[in-house]
């Protein structure tokens, strides 16, 4: 165990080193399998770790001391418990499948080995983030996943939009990183600890619900919100779809964006101690879930719809961890990783088949050309919409149930989550009927081809996960971390399940009516809803709002500094000093003749002068000093 946990980390970084240093020399096939194989190896190690964690082991092992200064000590320790093991399993397992898929998907890309190097670096960073046993290494992993996300969003750096999207993601994430760092400062300042175990032991020394613990939790939340693309720092995620589709699947759906959920779950003792902050988490999650789902109903870019759907699903997870239903949140994280990775990878096949056109209105008749993609996408859609017996049904219901069980504001968040479930079913089936529908809408004779087996096999495996993941007893596995989840009676379970299935069916029926049966109705409703539709379609104008509030004032300030302050004030001051010196120097430059003899004369004159003054001072001259 003490050896296995670092091995999980070492496998991806080894793959990164090989691909980064020698990737260009290796044949493509080798570079791809080195990239995928290193993650596969990490998955094998993760399974061995898992088998020991199942046996009840929990390890917090220190491997070395990174640096030490007085009583400030930063060790490198790995914290392996059920929670981090679950994360590691999903990251390496789903990550491995996505890497294998990438071997086929990226086969014609000139940056093949670079792609796998970045992907391996990401997996390493993410594993470091979840395995770290103290705040410093957590923040290092946190920043490194931001970096690899930046590199992969801007992977096609010759496209301007990709570069802009990468920059936006990086800036947004940096806001979160600052929050994290300040949270760590506050923790160290008040408790003198950085280690998780010490932190959990000592958190009760702070007054419950006090200003300090609330501030710590809220600052951590800033980091979580930025990384997980929740309101109000969500705008980078849809733009991040500029990256290659496997990147969207791995980083911007299955793993990295759920880091915020992991953070809150990992720090659950802190959030239990700060009810206000926990309530804030829940509100942000519930509102984001609904908000993103409404935007998802109006988009036409297949990857953007999936991106908003990701935001919405992570909103569910935030809601869960905010109201204390940690196991439900982590359960949904796991099922979501399966079905969302599946949806993205299948979408990647469709996008390739339609020659990189991502507009769902230009797609159609997928079933004939890409049968495997079609059926797996349907499974993913059913799973995310919460149809009974699929994975999403169990995990989503658990969250809604936990929220509805509560009283007061949390109950209304549960109602909102229930509404969101209906919206989810609607926008996913709208996407499905429009893009995968029975009719050939483009009216041309393009022939669609199914993707390579190396792409379809991972998708089929993920589809299997999207079906059966709901039956995995995650709650009992996580019991050592979060304690026993609240048991629910069978009647309540069935009653709520019926309700949420009903809501999902309504969403499905509306989508079927508007986008499969009678498309003219959809057009009519769009005009009828005019301004509301425009508001939603433009993502509530939040990008425009941020543009007005931050980007343009920032640019204006920069321009002012550049055009006025820089040339006039700063350059002006420097030039004025120089000019003054020049003017003064004109008066005395005549002294400098360059002739050695005149210098000697001056020197001698000076020496004689000094001598005379000294003699006068000492009284050797006729006229006396001071007389």
């Amino acid at each position: 165990m003490e050896i296995l946990a670092p091995l999980v980390l070492l496998a991806p970084i080894a793959g990164f080193v090989v691909n980064a240093l020698f990737g260009r020399l290796l044949p493509r096939r080798v570079a791809g399998w080195v990239g995928a194989g290193s993650i596969g190896l990490a998955f094998v190690f993760a399974l061995l770790v898992f088998s020991q964690v199942l046996g009840g082991q929990k390890v917090d092992q220190t491997y070395f001391t990174w640096w030490q200064s007085g009583d400030f000590n930063v060790p490198f320790n790995l914290y392996v418990d059920a929670l981090s093991t679950l994360m590691v399993l999903v990251i390496t397992g789903v990550g491995f499948l996505i890497h294998v898929y990438s071997i086929g998907y990226m086969r014609d890309d000139p940056g093949y080995s670079r792609f796998f190097a970045y992907m391996n670096l990401f997996v390493f960073s993410m594993l470091l983030l979840v395995l770290s046993g103290n705040l410093v290494w957590l923040i290092i992993g946190w920043a490194m996943v931001g970096l690899s996300s930046y590199l992969l969003i801007g992977f096609w750096f010759e496209r301007r939009s990709a570069v802009l999207a990468a920059r936006k993601a990086f800036v947004m994430n940096t806001i979160g990183d600052i929050g994290m760092v300040f949270a760590a400062f506050l923790i160290f300042l008040n408790l003198r600890v950085l280690d998780f175990q010490d932190l959990f032991n000592r958190v009760h020394q702070l007054p419950k619900g006090g200003a300090v613990i609330t501030a710590i939790c809220l600052l951590l939340l800033v980091g979580a919100v930025a990384k997980s693309a929740q309101l109000p720092l969500h705008t980078w995620l849809p733009d991040a779809m500029e990256g290659p589709t496997p990147v969207s699947a791995l980083i911007h759906a299955a793993t990295m964006v759920t880091a915020g959920v992991y953070l809150v779950a990992r720090m659950h003792l802190l959030y239990d101690w700060a009810p206000t902050a926990a309530a804030t988490v829940a509100v942000i999650g519930g509102v984001t879930a609904f908000f993103a789902a409404t935007i998802g109903t109006s988009q036409v870019d297949i990857k953007r719809i999936l991106a908003y759907s990701t935001m919405s699903q992570i909103g569910y997870m935030f809601l869960a961890v905010g109201i204390g239903a940690y196991t439900a949140g982590m359960f949904h994280f796991m099922t979501h990783a399966f079905f969302k990775a599946l949806l993205f990878l299948a979408a990647g096949n469709v996008i390739h088949a339609f020659h990189d056109d991502q507009d769902i209105r230009h797609m159609g008749n997928v079933r004939a050309g890409l049968p495997i993609t079609f059926w797996t996408f349907l499974i993913g859609t059913l799973s995310i919409s919460g149809f009974p017996l699929f994975a999403g049904f169990f995990s989503k219901d658990e969250i809604i149930r936990a929220a509805l069980n509560a009283t007061g504001g949390e109950f209304w968040l549960g109602v909102l989550a229930l509404l969101t479930a209906g919206l989810t079913a609607y926008y996913m089936f709208r996407l499905f009927f429009t893009a995968f529908g029975w009719e050939w809408l483009a009216h041309d004779d393009r022939h669609l081809h199914e993707a390579l087996p190396v792409q379809t096999i991972p998708i089929v495996i993920l589809a299997g996960g999207a079906v059966v993941a709901g039956y995995i007893p995650v709650a009992s596995f996580l019991t050592p971390v979060f304690g026993r989840a609240v048991e629910v009676g069978t009647a309540a379970f069935i009653g709520l399940a019926a309700l949420s299935v009903l809501v999902a069916l309504v969403g499905f029926a509306v989508a079927y009516l508007l986008h499969a049966r009678r498309p003219e109705l959809a057009v009519a409703w769009r005009t009828r809803l005019g301004p509301i539709h425009a508001l939603v379609e433009h993502k509530y104008y939040i990008d425009e709002l941020y543009d007005r509030l931050f980007v343009r004032p920032g640019l204006a300030l920069a321009r002012f500094l550049n055009d006025v302050v820089e040339p006039r004030v700063i350059d002006g001051a420097v030039n004025a000093v120089a000019a003054a010196v020049m003017v003064e120097a004109q008066d005395v430059r005549g002294i400098q003749t360059g002739r050695v003899r005149s210098y000697a004369l001056v020197t001698l004159g000076g020496a004689v002068g000094v001598l005379v003054i000294v003699a006068w001072y000492l009284g050797y001259l006729p006229w006396k000093f001071g007389a």
């Binding site: 003749t593 360059g594 002739r595 050695v596 003899r597 004369l601 001698l604």
Partner: protein, 101 residues
């Protein structure tokens, strides 16, 4: 009858003055150089005389130091003069005024 210290100091002052005047009125670099040596040795003479007069070795030590520095200075100075001569310049210190700018 021992020679009084003032005699040595007077001789030293005369030599120094000769050196200083020579430094300022002559233009040949070699002669200028010799004048510098004259001034240094005038000082050495004063050091040695006072050392004897005060019955202390400090002055002699200083004299040795000055001799060492003078030797080093001659090496550098002669090298500069030779280089300037080779560069085709006139052997006139007043013409060597490039440092003006």
């Amino acid at each position: 009858m021992p020679v009084p210290a003032s005699t040595f100091l007077l001789l030293s002052a005369v030599l120094f003055t000769l050196g200083a005047i020579g430094f300022m009125v002559r233009r040949n670099p070699l002669v200028v150089f010799m004048c510098i040596e004259l001034m240094l040795n005038a000082v050495n003479l004063a050091f040695a005389a006072m050392s004897r007069y005060l019955n202390s070795l400090d002055g002699v030590v200083f004299a040795f130091l000055v001799i060492t520095v003078a030797a080093a200075e001659v090496v550098v100075g002669i090298a500069i003069i030779v280089q300037v001569y080779r560069a085709g310049r006139q052997m006139d210190v007043d013409e060597l005024d490039l440092m003006k700018e």
